[in-house]
Subunit: 358 residues, 2 copies
């Protein structure tokens, strides 16, 4: 029996990926020059498919980077002169904050207690903050920030830029791009692709801010500064030789997901999430880490395993089912289960059935 | 008939690549977690195979990045406080210099006349320069710097760091790692792999310099600072989710090249280079751009095409042979031909035979 990966990313490949890789070999995508018309077509098709799938307005630009972590770095370099403000609800939002400090910014954070959400109404973003950074879906803790809270922040702080990490919620999360200036994800999560590609989606406010910083002599980085990314993106190219195969595959899978139907994907994700959380709530040996349902991620379920995670993970492996350990300090006491479009209802049923036997 | 890519990179895939991709699909490499033991094994095997193939001493560390362009950025951020000195002999060495300026360094360059080599004996590297940056093989102009000149620089300037771009000469170029502190390449050239992975090889001097900068409060970047890269590399991991498939494939192809024999590859590359340059020297309609044979790249032949490059390129395409245009301003008046391990003797003969019919 073939393996099923419920790991939180890299994860199960989307069912069409193998077919697209074989087609890419036939079409010599691995030999395709990043300065060729063929590549420009690939770039343009992938960007269009993403825009259609995720309802990204036309005036946003799509940049291809090495990883989502690189996206954090490029956003801070290009959109923050001195101060960014970070909502920290886990290890990846913490990383976003730390990157801003490592880049010499005088940034601030507000940290939620582990597993809790934020009390947004009681939080004031400092006046000096140029950008508000949020991790909409925390892969480390399984916490999710409701989109409406981000929209409220937009209304309260219309002059600040808003950056949103959607690494493990895209394309499931319905992002309101009116409330967001930039968003980013990587392909090895919800898109079910091999790792090695980050996607950064930015609007004109971000590009303008980057220009302003450059004019004032602030270093916005080099080959992946927004001005460089933009210059090349305008002719569907990249500043350096990118992961051409990765961009090709992302375009194909985005198209497949669009054709399958984003609303259908959302409904199925909700249904599978209900099954997963329901199973662990009923089962007294486990409990979902996030107690408040409104903060629970639909795509990353983090489960407390008081008797240790190792036994569960090893036993599941024997059935060719792979789940993730908890993140870092929770490695031994939690498991994490991904719920992406690549995970079918029947695979999820099989996972829960095998878990119930333990 | 299948296509043959003599383009300068992305280029012809090494003959075993397809087989390794199919095997990777079987082994679920696309779903392999970058925090798993399996990945640590992949990282370690790829690093070992590269070290064996390229005779890299054990005390060098191998880091995986998004591209060679990123390697330039990380080197400058981590090894240069204020001044680097750049030997500029084409567009990519120029890029290395420009990146250092964009990062706010007060760097200097010496530029050779287009297609000429440097008169090393007459060049003095400024005392304040902390690092000397050289592009051993310029993909834009087809100029090559003999390794012995780099070794002489090492003797003249034992206290300066030396960084060498071997993007389009690895693994052919026999790098004397006693004379080099860091070197970098990308996989879509001499290794004949799909693009999307940069490899940075650094010694302890570079790591020490980076530590020293950090101690003095200089920002060395963030997730790809040398201290972060080193911390993870020590347990065969990466700071962010990397191109796992790319690292896997690189290890496999490095192993294949090692087994084929690096000396054999070098002899064959020399023989093919002799054929290619010989053909264009005999043919009065063309001429090699680099007139002095000792500066001519063996892996990238740049050829003047006084009657224009377009006709040649289009005619060759009809025979399923792909060669590159000249770089940027030379697009219309030059062609570039790659001579990598993926290009067999018979493919090269076929290329020249078809060219002779024009």
């Amino acid at each position: 029996m073939s393996k099923i990966f419920f790991t939180v990313g890299p994860t199960q490949l989307y069912p069409t990926v193998k077919k697209h890789i074989l087609q890419a070999l036939k079409e010599d995508i691995g030999s395709t020059s990043h300065r060729s018309e063929q590549f420009q077509k690939i770039y343009s098709e992938t960007a269009s498919s993403l825009k259609e799938l995720m309802c990204i307005p036309d005036d946003f630009q799509i940049f291809f980077l090495g990883s989502a972590t690189e996206a954090m770095e490029r956003i801070i370099q290009n959109c923050v002169k001195e101060h960014s403000f970070h909502f920290v609800n886990g290890a990846f939002s913490k990383r976003f904050f730390e990157i801003s400090r490592q880049l010499g910014k005088n940034s601030q954070q507000i940290e939620s207690a582990a597993g809790d959400g934020f009390n947004f109404r009681e939080i004031s973003v400092p006046e000096k903050a140029e950008m508000i950074c949020l991790t909409q879906n925390e892969t480390s803790t399984g916490t999710s920030i409701p989109m409406k809270e981000i929209s409220k922040l937009r209304k309260r702080y219309p002059d600040k830029l808003i950056a949103v990490d959607i690494v493990s919620s895209a394309p499931y999360a319905a992002i309101d791009f009116e409330s967001v200036d930039c968003a980013f994800f990587s392909v090895q999560k919800g898109f079910g692709l091999p790792a090695g590609l980050g996607v950064l989606i930015v609007n004109r406010n971000c590009l303008r801010k980057s220009e302003e910083l450059e004019k004032n002599g602030v270093s916005t980085g080099s080959f992946h500064s927004f001005s460089s990314l933009r210059k090349y993106a305008e002719s569907n190219q990249t500043s350096e030789t990118p992961n051409v195969l990765g961009i090709y595959l992302l375009g194909k899978v985005a198209r497949d997901l669009f054709e399958y139907g984003i609303e259908r994907i959302r409904k199925e994700t909700d249904a599978k999430a209900k099954m997963i959380y329901g199973f662990f709530e009923k089962n007294t040996e486990y409990s979902p880490f996030i107690s408040d349902e409104k903060n629970r991620s639909k795509t990353i379920a983090v489960i407390n395993t008081p008797d240790g995670s190792r036994n569960i993970i090893e036993n599941m492996k024997k059935n060719n089912i792979f789940v993730s350990t908890g993140y870092k300090e929770n490695k031994k006491t939690q498991i994490r289960i991904a719920n992406f479009p690549a995970h079918s209802l029947s695979d999820t049923e099989y996972l829960l059935q095998e878990l119930s036997k333990l």
